[in-house]
Structure formats: C-alpha cells, structure tokens
C-alpha cells in the first residue's frame, strides 16, 4: 500500500507539473510547473534507490537551472500574451496525426502484450543502493574519461554563453 502510494502521488504530481508546463499562459507559471515536475521526479528517484542522483537533481536542476530560467524570463520580460491561433499551415493536421499514431502505437503494443510490457530480461532480486561511494567508485575509475570531458564541456559552454551574450556596443565612446 505504501509502495503504491509512494509511486502514485509523485507520479501524479509529475504529470500535473508537465501539463502545467505546456498549457500555462504566464511563463512564470510554466517555470513553477517545471519545478514541481523536477521535485516529484527527485522523490521518485529516491524510491528507486538512486539517492545521490536525487540530491544532485534537486541541487542542479531545480536549483540552478530553474533559477537561470527565471532570470531570463525576468530579463526579457515576456509580457505579450502568446497567440493561441496556429499560424503554420498544416501544423495542426500533422500534430494531430502524430498524436493519433502515437496513441495507436501504444495501445497496439499494450493490447498485444496483454497489458504487460514485455521486458526481455527479468529483474534482479536485490538492486544496488545509489550511494555516493558506489557512484564514485565507478565514476572515477571506469568512467573517468567522460567525466573529464564533460568538465571541459562545461567550461566551453560557459565561454560560449559569455561570447554569445556579450554586447559589443556597451562601451561608451570616450
């Protein structure tokens, strides 16, 4: 019972947050919806024994990334309400077509396999705890090269962001 609840509530919140993201009008509301989604996902991670990842998610995603989003919303000042009428020709048709195919595909698979996802490999009995030492043991030995590379990636991204947003006309003439 507890397990079910522990799954159902965060799952529901995730979906609710996602729907808020795509359907809200005010951008700030969108951001809040996203924060809700991310937090609920962190809870789900904890139920899946990935504790370290959950913490990192809360810190990085919900903390830093969303703050960035809010900063940009404030800076740009997205005031104008968005037009809801679709301007691109044929877009509505294609979107509905895609959704149709998606739903059809999914129901087809589900119905065919008897409401059970057919996973080829059985689950293991005892799964690992996602503790920091376990992650570190693997991250700094087997996966050390990607680790270094993504730190390089972060530096490059920062430099790129500065280069992109740098305003060359800021200097006042002497």
């Amino acid at each position: 019972m507890l397990e079910l609840l522990l799954f159902a509530v965060p799952a529901g919140l995730v979906i609710l947050g996602a729907l808020i993201v795509i359907f809200a009008k005010n951008p700030v509301h969108n951001s809040m919806g996203l924060v809700l989604t991310l937090a609920s996902l962190a809870i789900i991670y904890i139920t899946l024994n990935a504790t370290f990842v959950a913490m990192v998610q809360m810190l990085v995603y919900a903390g830093a990334v969303m703050t960035l989003f809010l900063f940009v919303i404030m800076m740009i000042g997205v005031d104008k309400p968005e037009q809801t009428r679709e301007e691109i020709k044929g877009q509505t048709l294609l979107v509905s077509g895609t959704l149709f195919i998606l739903i059809g595909l999914v129901s087809f698979i589900v119905v065919n396999s008897g409401f059970k996802w057919d996973l080829y490999f059985p689950a293991v009995e005892y799964s690992l705890e996602g503790t920091p030492d376990l992650i570190a043991a693997s991250l700094f030995t087997e996966w050390v090269l990607p680790f270094e590379i993504i730190s390089l990636l972060l530096i490059v991204a920062t430099a790129a962001a500065i280069a992109l947003a740098y305003d060359t006309k800021v200097r006042k003439p002497k």
């Binding site: 877009q91 294609l94 895609t98 087809f108 698979i109």
Partner: protein, 629 residues
C-alpha cells in the same frame, strides 16, 4: 599471261597518281607525253590480250587477285571474255583519241593536270567495271565511275551551274546505285556468292527464287547510270563539263555501263518477263521523250546530250526484245559516232570562243571544212544511212523488235518514229551550224588545230567502217559474244524478204528525216507554202523544256523534300523532342519547387516532421513481425 590484265586496268590509276605527284614540277608538254603514252600502252596491251582471246575462241580468261572474304567466298577477280574484251578495247581506244584531243582543247586551262588526273581515274574505274569477275568488283567500278563523272562534270567548280549539275548527276546516279546495292544484297542472300559464273549456273539449273526482284533492282541501277526515264534529267545538265570529258563519259562509256551490265546478267535476265517488259517500255519512252526534246534545243551540246539519251533508249529497246548482240553492236557504233559528234562540237565551240548557241553560228563549213565533213559523217551515221555504221546497228535493233511479233509490232512502229525524229533533229543540228546562211559574223573562225582535227578524222573513219563487223552477211560480233551469251536465248533477225523490207523502211525513215530538216530549216518550205502548223509555238516550248519533266521533278522532289524536312524540323524536332526534354526538366523544377516548400525554416514544423516520421518508423518495426506472423 593473265597478269597483263592488271597492266591494262591499273596503268591509268598509276598515271593519275603520277600526274598528281609531278603536276607542279612539269609543264604541259611533259604531262601530255606521260598521259598519252600510258594510254597508248594500255591500248596496245588490250589489243594484245584481245588477240590472245581471239585465237583461243573467246574462252574466258580469269584472274584472281586475292580472297577478300573467305566465307561467303568473295574474291577480287577479273574476267576477260568476248563482252569485256570489246568494252576494254573501246574504252582504252577512245581514251587515247580523246586524250589527244583534250591536250589541245584544255590547254591554257589553269587546272590542266587536275583534268587528266580525273580522266585517268575515270578510265581506271570504267575498266574495273567492265573487266570485273564478280558483282562486287563491278560495283566498285560502278561507284567510282559515278564519282569520276561527278568530278568531271563539276570540273569548273567555280561556276554555280556546273556545281549544281554535278550534284544532280551524282544524286540521280545514287538513286540507281541504291537499286544496284539492293540487288547485290539479294544476290548474296539467294545465291551465296557474287561470282558471275556461279550465279548464272545456279539460275540455269533451276534456282529461280526471287529472280524478278533481283532483276528489277539491277534494272533500277541501270536506269540511273544510263539515263533512262525517269532518271535522265542529269545528262543534259552534265554538259557543263568539258566537252572531251562529255565525249568519253556521256557518249561512249559511262552511260553505256548500264547496257553492259544488263547484257552481262542476260543469263538471268532472260527468265524474267516483267524485267524485259520494263526495260523495253522505259527504253521506248526515253527514246521518244529525248528525241522530242532535242528538236528545239538551242545549245550545240544539249542536242547531242538528248541524242545520247535517245540512243541509249534504243539500246534498252534492244535488250528488252532479247537482242543482246544488237544492243552491244549499237553500243559500239554509237560510241564512235557520238564521240565524233561531241569532239566536233568541241572543236566548233573552241573556235567560236566558247559560244554554244547554234543560232549564232551558220555557214561554218566554209571556214572549218574538215570539221564540217566529219560532223556530217557523224550525222549521217546516226540517222541510219548505209553503208555507215549507224544503219547496220539501228536496223538490227528495229528488225529484232519486229521479229518478236505480237504487241512488239507497236514497239517497232514507235521506235521507227524515234529513228525518224533522230534523223530530223540531227539534220537540223548540222544544217543550222554548218550550212545555213545567217548573218552571223564568222570571220574570226578558222579550222581547229591539228591535235583536234586528227582525232576527228580517226573517229570519222571508224564511224564509216565499224558497221561492217556485224552485218547480216558477216556476224563478226555475234561470234565474239557467242561464248559469253552461250546459254542466253537471243532473238534473231527475221529472214529473207522481211529483212529487206524492214531495212528499206528504216532507210526511208532516215532519209525522210534529213530531207524534212533540210526543207524546213534551209528552204523554209513552211513559209513558202504558207502552211501553218497548229500549236507550233507550244510544241516548240514543250520540246525545249523537255515536256516540263524537269520542272515536275523539281516541284515534287526538291520542293517537296525541302518542305517536308522543314516540317519535320519544326514539328518533330521542335515540338515533340524538344518539348519532351523541356517537359522533363520542368517536371523536375516544379516538383522540387513544391518539395522545397516544406523547408520553411520553422523549428516547430521540423519537430513535428521529426516526431511524425520517427513514430512511423517505430510503428513499421513493430508492425512487421506481427504482420509476418
């Protein structure tokens, strides 16, 4: 001994090459020396070979040069028998005489050496034609003769009319060559060989399939080369060439190649009744049309051209009625007196400083007596007055036609009419040039130089006496051709009193024609008796325009071809083919325009495309195993 044949045939070719090489180094005198001596050498060798043949009772002498294709077996071979022997003598002999004449006629011409090169090439090709041992070598000679004729007709190539005449001759010849070529192909297909003897023996043994078609194809070839109806209009235009060349080519040798060829294939011709009927009808039509057109011509050479066409018609009549010996006899006699007439005309033209209209001449016999006498002999010969050559041969043709009986009587009567017209226009020709007193200024004219007069005298003597080689009393030519025409059904002359009556009738026709010409043109009897011939002007117009046949041909063939090709160029090429290509390219363009509309630069539509097609792909992967089950 057979290898001497090679000397006869290839010596003119070597002479032509020699002249080409040394043409810039020597002057005219040395060139004359070279070419006339080589012609004499050819002629002497030819006489020798003919003598050899004579002693051997005209059994054919074969010479095989090399095997060209092993299977089906096609050799490069030559045959010397009675028929090719006669032609060989004729060609080489006339070559000597006419080349002597040309050295004087063509002197001071800027293309002197070129003339002799072309002349020798022509002699070579004609010898190749007559001495061939199979159809293929004959075809080589056939084509080369056409080429040399073209080169000689358009010799003064800067003149527009000469170039056009050369083209016309070659094209009409080509139409005939097409028939010859189809005939060649059919021969190879039916008999598997080109050799004369093999083909003839096969036919005589009973293999007669597709014989009519082969014969008709060869007949078309003969029509083109020998200027029969409807392929004759090139010959009057061919008078643009130098007169001695016309004498050799269009009087004696090239145009008789058709006659020669038909006599050569007489073993197979005799079995095709359709072929013989076509030949005799076309020959008669040609003879009549040409004789009618010659009545009112103004040019001295055009009269002779139409006369040649008409006499060739006579030869074809002879072949059509089965009198092959008579055809060859007339060929030989006609060669002599027509060459004589042409060379005489050449002398007159040369002395009148290239004036060719006979109405501007008159009473030339006082100034050029020898030429006038020789031309007179030629005119009498062609009119069929005994004992000159033309009488014997023409009479033999008419008698043989008569001897066939049935509807051939009609042919005989019409041929007699053609003979009468021949005498009439030739009489008019000689009288207007040499006898009639007109007021034209001829004080500057004098006798032609010796190099021109002597050949005339030689030819005159021959025209007088050559008829005696095949009289009803001494069948010399028939004996010569006996071996060649051994298996051929020859029509013989009627016997006894019929022959004499026929002879008298044809002499009468000749005399009447000459007399009428004298009366009308000299004594002017029509004005005297105030006889008004109805439609006189229209008849004159019809005659001088060759019954408007030339215009007819021009409208239908030339203009028709031009408009047809223009229409093809515009419709087929412009609309259909270009249109198709344009449509394909515009199809590409339009379709790419439409497809490029999907590249609208919007992120959202790209996202949609991405998702849509990826879902389709996944669905394909999932659905396929399910469908296969």
């Amino acid at each position: 001994m057979e290898n001497l044949l090679l000397v006869i045939i290839f010596l003119p070719l070597l002479t032509a090459l020699g002249i080409k090489i040394i043409s810039n180094l020597v002057n005219e005198l040395l060139l004359n020396f070279l070419t006339i001596n080589s012609a004499l050498l050819s002629f002497a060798t030819a006489c020798g070979m003919f003598g050899l043949l004579l002693t051997d009772k005209f059994k054919p002498i074969h010479l095989e040069l090399f095997t060209w294709i092993p299977s089906p077996e096609i050799l490069f071979e030559f045959t010397l028998d009675g028929l090719s022997g006669i032609m060989m003598l004729l060609v080489t002999g006339l070559s000597v005489v006419i080349q002597i004449f040309s050295t004087s006629y063509m002197s001071k011409d800027e293309n002197y050496s070129k003339y002799f090169i072309y002349f020798n090439v022509f002699v070579f090709s004609m010898l190749l034609l007559v001495m061939s041992g199979n159809f293929l070598v004959m075809f080589f000679g056939w084509e080369l003769v056409g080429l040399s004729s073209y080169l000689l007709i358009s010799f003064w190539s800067k003149k527009q009319s000469a170039a056009k005449a050369g083209n016309k001759a070659f094209i009409l010849n080509r139409i005939g060559d097409f028939g010859f070529l189809v005939g060649l192909m059919l021969t190879l297909n039916t008999f598997g060989t080109f050799n004369y003897e093999k083909v003839f023996s096969e036919v005589l043994n009973g293999n007669r399939e597709s014989l009519s078609i082969i014969v008709i194809c060869f007949i078309i070839g003969a029509f083109g080369k020998s200027a029969q109806f409807p392929l004759f209009s090139w010959l009057p235009d061919a008078m643009e060439g130098p007169t001695p060349a016309s004498a050799l080519i269009h009087a004696a040798t090239m145009v008789t190649a058709g006659v020669f060829m038909l006599v050569r294939i007489s073993p197979i011709l005799q079995f095709s009744e359709t072929g013989k009927l076509i030949i005799i009808t076309a020959g008669l039509l040609t003879a009549l049309i040409a004789a009618f057109s010659a009545i009112n011509q103004d040019d001295i050479k055009k009269v002779l051209a139409y006369s040649t066409i008409s006499q060739l018609g006579f030869m074809f009549i002879a072949i059509g009625s089965g009198a092959y010996v008579a055809a060859i006899f007339h060929l030989v006699t006609h060669a002599f007196f027509k060459a004589l007439l042409f060379l005489g005309a050449g002398a007159v033209i040369h002395e009148m400083h290239h004036e060719q209209n006979i109405h501007k001449m008159g009473n030339l016999k006082t100034k050029m007596p020898i030429t006038a006498a020789m031309m007179g002999i030629g005119t009498l010969a062609i009119s069929g007055i005994p004992p000159l050559a033309g009488f014997w041969s023409k009479d033999e043709i008419l008698a043989s036609t008569f001897a066939n009986g049935g509807f051939y009587y009609g042919y005989w009567a019409l041929s007699l009419l053609a003979a009468f017209m021949t005498a009439f226009y030739m009489g008019r020709h000689w009288l207007l040039i040499f006898h009639k007193e007109t007021g034209n200024d001829i004080s500057q004219v004098h006798e032609a130089p010796k190099a021109m007069v002597r050949p005339l005298i030689v030819l005159g003597i021959f025209s007088f006496f050559i008829g005696f080689i095949n009289t009803p009393f001494f069948h010399g030519l028939e004996k010569v051709l006996e071996e060649t025409l051994h298996y051929v059904d020859i029509t013989h002359l009627p016997e006894g009193i019929t022959l004499i009556i026929l002879a008298v009738v044809s002499i009468g026709a000749g005399f009447t024609g000459l007399l009428l010409a004298y009366l009308i043109y000299i004594v002017d009897i029509l004005a005297y008796f105030k006889v008004k011939i109805p439609l006189k002007e229209e008849i004159k117009e019809l005659s001088s325009n060759t019954l408007y046949l030339n215009k007819f041909g021009e409208v239908i063939f030339v203009k028709g071809m031009k408009s047809f090709s223009r229409k093809t160029a515009v419709v087929v090429d412009g609309l259909l083919i270009d249109g198709l290509v344009n449509k394909i390219s515009s199809l590409f363009y339009n379709s790419s325009q439409k497809v490029s509309k999907s590249q609208n630069g919007l992120v959202r539509s790209y996202v949609v495309y991405f998702g849509f097609f990826m879902l389709l792909l996944i669905g394909l992967f999932i659905a396929t195993p399910w469908v296969l089950n």
